[in-house]
């Protein structure tokens, strides 16, 4: 048996169709008790994660809609940290699965308690741009998928992909029980059962076993190659244009300390951030001392320290989902900066966040040679 299964004959034009049917059957046939899946919000073009328990509430399922309002890794963690009392599944993008894996390693979620459905991710738009575009374009997701698969670019008139998505070298649903495949599959999406649980599920649904799509491996390779090229251009650009210290200070100086980046970051898992404590509230005289030292001090004083601390705490777990950049009201390229820095911190420990649950978090282990430069 190949591990590959046909999803449904038809229609690349309306992936929501067969995908919706697949999701409905998961609940209908008792394979899952509840499914976390992106759906259109009634009376809105926006798409959000929903936890569906009743098959007849699977009305506007659209997991391929190019928008990621919330990194669902956090939601998956929330659903599994304790026993959810039922069989829960989730359709997640690769960066969501990888974030979830990081959270599992941090004991914030439990992989055993969730059935993961991954997918080939074509990338996403900035949420406000998506909302506007989708409003004007019915069946937007189908058109988007079609265009991405044929040309590698969003359809005419659509907004550009987020920079983080273009630089993402992990676009497939690795680590999931079942993966939805679009790339190199010829004639509609198909499924790949990546784990025993995945195989048991698709067999229970009597899906038709098919050969491994002949063009798949090559197509994925080319696809990832393009992403890596774009990623390396990003690193180069950020390293020369933002990371030099004076530039970095400039970029971060527009921060309004709203902490949105932290709120949306799936790797920022603390119940209460150290920046919410009184650690950085200083005696009034201290501020004057600082001001006196250089003649002037920027207020509040801790904004730069906040970004550096967050970088220190979570850059090894940064999966590059880009939520921080999307959430920043000041347009700071938080994600681009973090990914570029994280590339080095991750290289030091030979660590790829979310790659495998077997890989321990760098801070929890010690290897004699781990701090020797790797770049």
């Amino acid at each position: 048996m190949s591990g590959y299964f046909a999803l449904d004959e038809d229609s690349r034009k309306d992936p929501a169709g067969p995908l919706g049917e697949f999701c409905r059957r998961l609940l209908d046939e008792g394979i899952l008790d509840a499914l976390l899946v992106a759906q259109h919000i009634p009376d809105s073009s926006m798409v959000q994660h929903t936890l569906v328990q009743s098959p007849d509430k699977m009305l506007a399922v659209d997991p391929v809609a190019p928008v990621l309002p919330v990194n669902g890794g956090v939601l998956a963690a929330r659903l599994t940290r304790q026993d959810p009392g039922g069989k829960v599944g989730a359709i997640l993008r690769p960066c969501e699965i990888r974030a979830f894996f990081e959270l599992v390693k941090l004991h914030q979620g439990d992989r055993e308690r969730i059935f993961l459905i991954g997918m080939d991710c074509m990338g996403t738009f900035e949420p406000p741009q998506y909302r506007e575009w989708a409003k004007a374009n019915p069946e937007a997701s189908g058109r988007f998928l079609e265009a991405m698969l044929s040309s590698g670019e969003p359809p005419q008139g659509a907004p550009p992909l987020r920079r983080c998505c273009r630089a993402c070298e992990f676009p497939t649903g690795e680590g999931a029980d079942v993966q939805l495949l679009f790339v190199g599959t010829d004639g509609g999406p198909c499924l790949f059962a990546g784990t025993e649980a995945g195989e048991t599920a698709v067999k229970a649904m009597n899906l038709k076993n098919v050969e491994e799509p002949a063009k798949r491996a090559k197509a994925v390779e080319t696809w990832i190659k393009g992403r890596i090229k774009s990623r390396d251009e990003l690193f180069k650009e950020v390293e020369s244009e933002i990371l030099p210290l004076d530039r970095l200070l400039g970029e971060l100086s527009s921060c309004i300390t709203c902490y949105n980046c932290r709120e949306v970051c799936p790797a920022c898992y603390c119940k209460s951030c150290v920046f919410e404590s009184n650690t950085f509230e200083h005696p009034a005289s201290q501020y004057l001392k600082w001001a006196k030292k250089k003649g002037v001090v920027k207020m509040p004083t801790e904004s730069l320290f906040f970004h550096l601390t967050r970088m220190l705490h979570m850059s090894t777990s940064c999966v590059g989902c880009g939520q921080c950049t999307s959430a920043c009201p000041m347009g700071i390229r938080v994600s681009d900066i973090f990914r570029t820095v994280a590339r080095r911190t991750q290289a030091v420990f030979d660590y790829v966040p979310g790659r495998s649950l077997e890989e321990p978090l760098p801070m929890t282990t010690y290897k004699e040679d781990e701090l020797s430069p790797q770049w």
Partner: protein, 653 residues
């Protein structure tokens, strides 16, 4: 509460004052906010120095004290006691280390003075934030474990048991006795080792408060000072020692002979064996790898002849958990295998032997019944003794093994006395520093031993003169005359170095203790804490800490015993107050702290979804506080507030 800080700048003789202008530092300290009195003094740690602090606390109503002196490792406890005596909490003290961090490490006096001021300013900024930490006591389990039953372990066990406390004496071999039981005589008095050693071995076996665990090894140590839990593996002896009378018939009847490790393979033992006739306990064990029954299922001769039906081929290893209050590690040394020193030909020439092999040869009850002989059974006419084999040699061990000069001289004496052969000793220096050692050296010199001051270059069988054919030739440069010497002999004894046990690293890991550069276990302080380790409640005795002779081993072991006795007799031990704390309101239960805690002091509470610190086990290292991203884990006395106040003050003049 108003800050009333006293600052005390120590000269440390000229250690600090020779570089730092202490008067200026004290004057500067007086100008800092909250400081009501600042002084400098020659030795703050002296009685008058401490008295001054106490006086000032009373007179100036000080509520915080900063001492700018040496490392807090040296005198933090001293000054904490000073504060306590004066009636304020000991943790209201902060030490600014202006000796190790300033005067000893900063070249320029002006820079040093400025740096000392910076450090005092930082301490003054931090000390008002200090909270009064409570102190706790935990009960000490009065039983003690001694690991290794050589002369060091035996001495420690006897001292503690005689002091009234129960001892678990663990030995990996089937008998107590260690290396000393292998020797014939011991320098400088030439007592017979058995005559002075055996009574102690018997005493250990008979003592009502010593529980022997021979043929046993420590596998795991957990817990902390006062409350250690030790897992000991009792290896299967395949002989029921409860019923065995030690009659010896099994050994007589066992058909399988193997070279005896105890006799340095100069003699044989059986597959069922005791180490030596005076073994304690005098009960045999079966060497499974060599037993015919275990190898091919036949034989069982021992079982057939054992009247007590003590043979038990089904016996299994048994792991026992023993709880003790303190542990003495007395695991001894290995003699270096000199075959790696290729020019000396050990392993290549049969009559090149080690000192320990000679000991077994010269022992009356040994494999040659005390006959000093060559491999062909003949008596040597000329013997060379080579000193510093593997010791004082950068290629092998830089250290001096401390015993070889003396045992080499003893061997020379024994050869002269027993067979009258010519003895040539090749040495670099004669290090005879103990009581009666120099006298012994003189005595042996007067016995006609030929001393050649020069390290032997090589041992060969390449005779130059025809009459030396078939003999061993030792060449060396006699540094006293500058001449090259060429000495034909029949036997060469290599005074091989003492080494750390081959599995010392594993032992260190089990006990969580450190090793020094030479590989021996590291004492807490080479002079002032020679039996302590970095782990409170684990002590060192004898050669596991470094080369020692019997004299020093016994003294070292008695010192270790006194440490265990002190703990047991006081019955309680104060736990560290500067330990970690996890704020349950902030903890998110990620358990990263657990993975970095070296003491296994943190546990996760599944029900509450948070982690918490076991205060008795926490070492206060701060790894958890450093790793916890939300700051839920913090180290008392090193809280973020305290450290940041210090940093802020350091950064801003």
């Amino acid at each position: 509460m108003e800050n009333r800080i006293g600052v005390y700048v120590c000269h440390c003789g000229t250690n600090i004052a020779g570089k730092v202008e202490v008067e200026k530092v004290a004057e500067y300290a007086g100008s800092l906010p909250g400081v009501v009195i600042s002084r400098e003094y020659r030795f703050m740690c002296s009685d008058p120095g401490q008295e001054q602090i106490r006086e000032d606390i009373a007179k100036h109503r000080l509520n915080r004290v900063v001492v700018a002196a040496c490392s807090p490792r040296m005198h933090e406890k001293t000054f904490q006691k000073t504060l306590e005596k004066a009636g304020i909490n000991r943790y209201y003290l902060q030490v600014a280390n202006i000796r190790e961090h300033v005067s000893w490490t900063t070249e320029d006096p002006e820079t040093a003075t400025k740096k000392a001021m910076d450090m005092v300013r930082a301490a003054v900024a931090r000390v008002p934030l200090h909270g009064p930490l409570p102190t706790h006591e935990v009960a000490v389990n009065k039983e003690v474990m001694v690991v290794g039953a050589g002369i060091g372990g035996i001495q420690a066990a006897l001292d503690i048991a005689d002091g009234g406390y129960k001892v678990h004496l663990v030995e990996r071999l089937p008998s107590v006795g260690g290396h000393m039981s292998q020797y014939d005589k011991v320098f400088p008095t030439l007592d017979c080792a058995a005559c002075i050693g055996t009574p102690k071995m018997v005493a250990v076996g008979m003592h009502e408060r010593i529980q022997l665990h021979t043929y046993s090894e420590v596998e795991e140590v957990s817990g902390f000072v006062g409350q250690f839990k030790v897992k000991v593996r009792h290896k299967a002896a395949y002989v029921n020692h409860e019923v065995c009378t030690g009659c010896g018939i099994c050994q007589e009847k066992c058909p399988k002979k193997v070279p005896s490790e105890y006799d340095m393979k100069l003699g044989k033992r059986k597959a069922i064996y005791t180490l030596f006739p005076q073994a304690v306990p005098n009960k045999p064990v079966i060497d499974r790898d060599n037993c015919i029954y275990f190898q091919n299922g036949k034989c069982r001769a021992c079982e057939k002849f054992c009247e007590m039906k003590a043979i038990d081929f089904a016996q299994q290893d048994r792991v026992e958990e023993i709880e003790v209050g303190s542990i003495i590690v007395a695991t001894g040394f290995d003699q270096m295998d000199p075959s790696i020193i290729e020019p000396y030909g050990y392993g290549r020439y049969p009559n090149v032997i080690t000192g320990l092999e000679f000991e077994r040869m010269v022992v009356g009850a040994g494999p040659t019944l005390g006959k000093i002989q060559l491999k062909d059974g003949s008596v040597p006419k000329d013997v060379a003794i080579l000193h510093c084999v593997g010791s004082r040699d950068l290629r092998y061990h830089e250290y001096c093994s401390r015993v070889c000069c003396m045992y080499g001289l003893k061997h020379a004496h024994q050869i002269r006395e027993k067979i009258g052969a010519n003895v040539y000793m090749f040495y670099i220096d004669m290090r005879c520093f103990g009581k009666g050692y120099e006298e012994f050296y003189n005595r042996v010199q007067n016995e006609g031993v030929i001393l050649i001051r020069g390290k032997a270059a090589q041992v060969t069988d390449q005779a130059v003169l025809p009459e030396d054919e078939g003999r061993l030739i030792v060449t060396a440069e006699d540094t006293a005359t500058g001449e090259k010497v060429y000495v034909p002999v029949d036997m060469v004894i290599l005074s091989a170095a003492m080494e750390p046990r081959v599995d010392a690293q594993q032992t260190a890991r089990i006990f969580n203790i450190n090793r020094s550069k030479d590989g021996f276990f590291l004492e807490q302080h080479p002079k002032l804490a020679p039996v302590n380790t970095a782990v409170s409640g684990i002590f060192l005795a004898g050669t596991c800490q470094g080369p020692k002779d019997v004299v020093d081993t016994v003294a070292h072991a008695a010192a270790a015993a006194s440490k265990s006795l002190a703990l047991a007799s006081k019955g309680v031990v104060e736990t560290e107050s500067m330990i970690s704390w996890i704020n349950p309101e902030v903890c998110v239960g990620c358990q990263t702290c657990i993975s970095v805690c070296p003491a296994n002091a943190i546990t996760y509470n599944e029900r509450r979804g948070i982690s918490s610190v076991n205060e008795a086990v926490c070492l206060g290292c701060g790894s958890c506080a450093a790793t916890c991203p939300s700051g839920a884990a913090s180290l008392k006395h090193f809280t973020a507030d305290e450290v940041l106040a210090e940093v802020d003050a350091l950064m801003g003049a």
